[in-house]
Structure formats: structure tokens, C-alpha cells
């Protein structure tokens, strides 16, 4: 299996699965979904190993080569994001099977008379395919179309929940569309300036013209809207909070990473030659503000899913703190590991919220007494993912935060170090506040049980988030083998 065939598998599997699920309809949608999830995640993990052995490579789609055709570029950064999407995507698919078989979904769709629940599968697989296409793409306009695929499938998935999710989906759509248009203006200016859409050629030809700065600013504004960084984050909590559990897991864990990935690709790779100190510091400042603002907001939420959604806003801030520290060694490894373990623990948290909703019928935090006794596995999953999100030692979150922290301290950046540590405390405040309820005696002796697949998947995912602590070394070697700094 050469590198190219692994990549073709990663690219085509979700797309093929999506169209087959669409055609199959209710009867075989979930079966196709699970099969595609297996094949897709296997392909993306295989690709990651191929890159760690053979280093990064380029792939000319349609055989035409860079300026005319579209080139895909697979380097370590892309391989890590693809493997993350694969693994977490597989767990979300398994969880979704249990979730939609549970009666909770049937009741929801009839109550809010949205379309049939099986529509989840084609849209979810297309979302996955769109993300894979985005991480693989090395062409500016191709990234735009992939962003649209991810955007629209996200909107459809949010709307699946009906009720107040419709307004949230509409707000997400408007903001996403405006962001994409700004991005396109930027792409157009760069094409006018350098007559190429390929990232690699652009990186070589880039020089500090005013129109290039304008293009960079517009593209960054568009992508900030899509990755919900602090000032432009207001669409995320209602969208992720009101969506169905597997959907909010997919959005919070995976989709927000696409915006972050693209900004890393732009500012640390393509525009690197432009002298980006004040821009990266600005992004870092926004990240720090997001960490504090998201944390404070999460503390005040009454509903579990809204709290976890606000925690996404905060954790995105953490990732953006990579920018001011990018020049120091080890910071990229740290940020990537943070991104991956955040994806796993955030998906596990939303799955726990889904299981709690299935058993309790609501997710008001105050009245969740004793969910530890009623649902031991979910409580364990919640605890493990909280440990990783807070960044307490035996977890991937800790390893990532440690690398960022030592990069900040080695570079003498006290501000960022303080924010990183303070953010951890804030996260601890709002997550452990909920965990405490697990130890109370259960008030309502609810007889319903969440389907075993749901609880087990969240526990496995949370366990993986902890195990990521030992993934720091292989990730470091992969990054250096893959050629990314």
C-alpha cells in the first residue's frame, strides 16, 4: 500500500460512503455509516504511519500539476489532523448508532418534526469527507470549496435537532457564508498578485505588497469567523449547545479545528516570509481573551451542553496561543497534541451529555445528583476527559500544555505562561463543579439505561485522551520526519 493509495482511501472513503448512504436511505444508512467509518479511520491512520516513514509528499489530482490543476500536499501537520479526525470520527459514528437506536432520537424528531433521523448519516459522512479534503488540500480555492462542504453539512446536522437549533443553524450559516466570501476576496487578490492558487508556489513567490497584506487580513478575518475565536465566537455556543449529542461532538471536537489548521497553514507556512510578529501576537491575545471569556461564561451556564460548548470557545483560545510561541521549539508539537487530546476529550464530554440526556431527560446541571451511581461509566468518562481538558498530569492535555508552557518559559514569554496556567484553573472550576454532583446520592431513581454503546464509546474516547500523554514522542518524531518545523 503506497502512500498515494492510503491518501486516496482517506479522501474517497467518506465521500463514497455519504453518497451510498444517501441513496440507501433509512434501511442501510447506519450500516453504511459504520462501514465507512471503519474504512475511513483505518485509511487515515495508515496515511499517518506512511507519512511518518516516508515523509511528506505531494499528489497532483487529475495529473495536471500545480498552477493549472489542484495539488494535494500531505505533510506531518495534515497527517496528524487526518488521523485525529479518523479516530474521533469512528467513535462518533459508533456512538451515533447507539444514540439513534435509543428512543430519545425518535421522540426528538417527531416532536420537532424535522426530517427522518437517518439523514444524519449522509450529512455526517460528507462532513467527514469535507474535513479530509480540507486537510489534504494544497490549493487555496479547493480549500474554499472544502470549507463550504464542511459548513453546509454542519448546518444540516445542527438543523436535525429542530426547535431552537434552527435559529442557531441560520446564524451559523450567515456568519459562515460571510466568512467564506471574505476568504474568497483574499484568494482573488493573491491570484491577481501571483497568478497561482497553489500554497507551495505562493509561499515561494510571496512578497510584502499592500494588496498581499489586505488579502492576508481578509482571509484571516474569514477564517476567524469560521473557527469561532473570541470576538466572533457568539454563534458557537447556541449551535453546539442545541444540536444532537453526536452532532455537537463532531462540531466541537473536529470542525472548529479546521479554521485553526488553516490559520496555522497560512501564518506559519505561507505568509511566514511576511514578518508576522504583530499578527501572531494579536492572534495569541485573542486566544488568551477566549480562554478567560469562555471559562467565565462556562462557569455561569445552567445546562450541561451549553457549558461544554462554552468550554470549546475557551479551549480554542488555548490552541491559538501557539501563534506567539511558534518560533520556539516544541510549541507546534504541544499545540497539536493539545488539539488532538481536546478533540478526544471534548467529543467524550458531549457523548456523556448525550447519555445523561437519555437517562435524565434533561441536562440541567443543578438536578444531576448522583449520576455517578446511576451511570458509573459515563461519570468515569466525564472525569477522565475533564482531567485531560484541565491538563492534569496523566493526560494528553497535560503533555500538550507542558510543551506550550516550557516553550513560553524558554522564550521568556511570562504572559502566555501565566494565561496557560490560569486557564487550566478556570477549566477545573467549571468542569469539577459538575463532577462533584456525581458523588451525591441519586435523588431520582431513573430506571432507563443509556444504551451500552453510548457509554462505552465515551469511556474509550476519554481513555484515549489520557493515553495521548505517551503520544508526545511519536508525534514529535512524526513532525520532524514529516518536514514540518
Amino acid at each position: 500500500m503506497t502512500q498515494e493509495s492510503w491518501m486516496e482511501g482517506t479522501l474517497a472513503a467518506p465521500l463514497l460512503g455519504a453518497v451510498l448512504a444517501l441513496i440507501a436511505g433509512r434501511s442501510a444508512a447506519s450500516a453504511i455509516g459504520i462501514l465507512t467509518a471503519l474504512v475511513g479511520s483505518a485509511a487515515s491512520i495508515g496515511l499517518a504511519f506512511a507519512v511518518s516513514r516516508g515523509g511528506s509528499f505531494r499528489y497532483a489530482v487529475g495529473g495536471w500539476g500545480a498552477p493549472l490543476g489542484i495539488d494535494l500536499r500531505v505533510d506531518a501537520l495534515a497527517a496528524v489532523m487526518l488521523a485525529m479526525t479518523g479516530v474521533v470520527g469512528l467513535c462518533i459514528s459508533v456512538y451515533a448508532v447507539g444514540y439513534f437506536r435509543g428512543k430519545e432520537a425518535e421522540a426528538a424528531s417527531s416532536r420537532t418534526n424535522t426530517g427522518p433521523a437517518w439523514l444524519f448519516w449522509p450529512m455526517w459522512l460528507m462532513l467527514w469527507g469535507g474535513m479530509n479534503a480540507l486537510y489534504l488540500s494544497g490549493d487555496l480555492f479547493n480549500i474554499y470549496v472544502a470549507l463550504e462542504v464542511v459548513g453546509i453539512s454542519g448546518i444540516g446536522l445542527i438543523a436535525l435537532a429542530g426547535g431552537s437549533a434552527i435559529a442557531a443553524a441560520l446564524r451559523y450559516l450567515l456568519l459562515g457564508l460571510a466568512g467564506s466570501l471574505l476568504y474568497i476576496v483574499g484568494v482573488e487578490l493573491l491570484y491577481a498578485g501571483y497568478a497561482t492558487l497553489d500554497l507551495e508556489q505562493l509561499r515561494q513567490r510571496i512578497d510584502a505588497q499592500p494588496s498581499t497584506w489586505l488579502a492576508a487580513a481578509l482571509m484571516t478575518a474569514g477564517l476567524l469567523a469560521k473557527s469561532a475565536l473570541f470576538p466572533l465566537h457568539f454563534w458557537l455556543p447556541p449551535a453546539h449547545g442545541h444540536a444532537l449529542a453526536p452532532v455537537s461532538a463532531a462540531l466541537s471536537a473536529l470542525v472548529v479545528k479546521t479554521g485553526f489548521y488553516l490559520l496555522v497553514r497560512l501564518w506559519l507556512d505561507v505568509f511566514a516570509a511576511l514578518g508576522t510578529e504583530h499578527v501572531t501576537t494579536f492572534l495569541g491575545a485573542l486566544g488568551a481573551a477566549a480562554v478567560l471569556w469562555g471559562g467565565v461564561q462556562a462557569l455561569q451556564q445552567e445546562r450541561l451542553k451549553m457549558m461544554v460548548a462554552y468550554s470549546t470557545v475557551a479551549q480554542i483560545g488555548y490552541l491559538f496561543m501557539l501563534f506567539p510561541l511558534a518560533s520556539m521549539s516544541g510549541s507546534l508539537t504541544g499545540a497539536l497534541l493539545l488539539a488532538v487530546s481536546h478533540a478526544m476529550s471534548k467529543a467524550a464530554l458531549f457523548m456523556c451529555a448525550g447519555s445523561v440526556l437519555a437517562v435524565y431527560g434533561h441536562d440541567r446541571i443543578q438536578s444531576l445528583q448522583g449520576f455517578g451511581a446511576l451511570m458509573p461509566m459515563t461519570a468515569a468518562a466525564f472525569a477522565l476527559s475533564s482531567i485531560s481538558l484541565i491538563g492534569l498530569p496523566p493526560s494528553g492535555g497535560f503533555a500538550g500544555k507542558w510543551m506550550l508552557l516550557s516553550a513560553a518559559l524558554a522564550g521568556g514569554a511570562w504572559w502566555w505562561a501565566a494565561i496557560i496556567v490560569l486557564g487550566g484553573l478556570l477549566t477545573a472550576a467549571y468542569l469539577l463543579r459538575v463532577l462533584a454532583f456525581a458523588f451525591l446520592e441519586p435523588v431520582v431513581a431513573s430506571s432507563t439505561r443509556a444504551p451500552r454503546a453510548m457509554e462505552l464509546t465515551s469511556l474509550i474516547l476519554a481513555g484515549m485522551a489520557i493515553a495521548m500523554n505517551f503520544a508526545l514522542l511519536p508525534l514529535h518524531d512524526l513532525l520532524h520526519a514529516g518536514g514540518a518545523r
Binding site: 480555492f141 453546509i152 448546518i155 444540516g156 434552527i166 435559529a167 441560520l170 450567515l174 476576496v185
Partner: protein, 101 residues
């Protein structure tokens, strides 16, 4: 003042009008129209850019074609969302705009 320059400037103007319309308007249908207008402005600039060489550069034309189709898909979805929201919540404004009626 060759045609590409005229239409590129008109495109820039239309784009800015669309962006302003999107930011300023509160009725969602108006914001959808504004976004479409903004998209048309962007495409005007792109095609005007392509028209500067005698056999016009086909790549921007392909990009604009793709852009138009994507725009119509997003607009169709936005309109469906709007009608559904209007039916459920009785107002064609986003929740955060409603209370300051």
C-alpha cells in the same frame, strides 16, 4: 478606462455595499440578499481580472461558475432555514435582534 477596470471597480463597490448591507440589516431575508450581492461583487472582480488578457484566462471563469452554484445552494438552504424559523418562532429576525424591536 478599459472594461476590466470599470467592472472591477464596480465589483469592489458592489462587494462593499453587500458587506455593509449584511452587517447593517436585521431582517434575515435582506441579509441573504446582501450576501448574494456581495458574492456577485466578488465574482465581478474575479472575471474582470480574467478579462485583462485577450483570450480571457479560463481559470477565474471556472472559479466563478463554482462560486455561483455554491452560492445558490447556500441561499436555498438559508431560505429554507428562514421559512422554518419564521414558522416556528413567528419572527424573521435572529433571536438576538428580536428583543430590541
Amino acid at each position: 478606462m478599459t472594461p476590466p477596470i470599470i467592472y472591477a471597480s464596480a465589483g469592489a463597490a458592489v462587494l462593499c455595499l453587500g458587506l455593509f448591507g449584511f452587517l447593517a440589516a436585521r431582517h434575515v431575508l435582506r441579509r441573504i440578499l446582501a450576501l448574494n450581492v456581495m458574492g456577485s461583487g466578488v465574482f465581478m472582480m474575479l472575471v474582470a481580472l480574467a478579462a485583462r488578457t485577450d483570450p480571457p484566462d479560463p481559470i477565474p471563469h471556472a472559479l466563478v461558475l463554482t462560486g455561483i452554484v455554491v452560492a445558490v445552494c447556500v441561499t436555498a438552504l438559508a431560505l429554507a432555514l428562514l421559512t422554518r424559523m419564521c414558522r416556528d418562532e413567528g419572527s424573521a429576525l435572529l433571536p438576538e435582534d428580536r428583543d430590541i424591536e
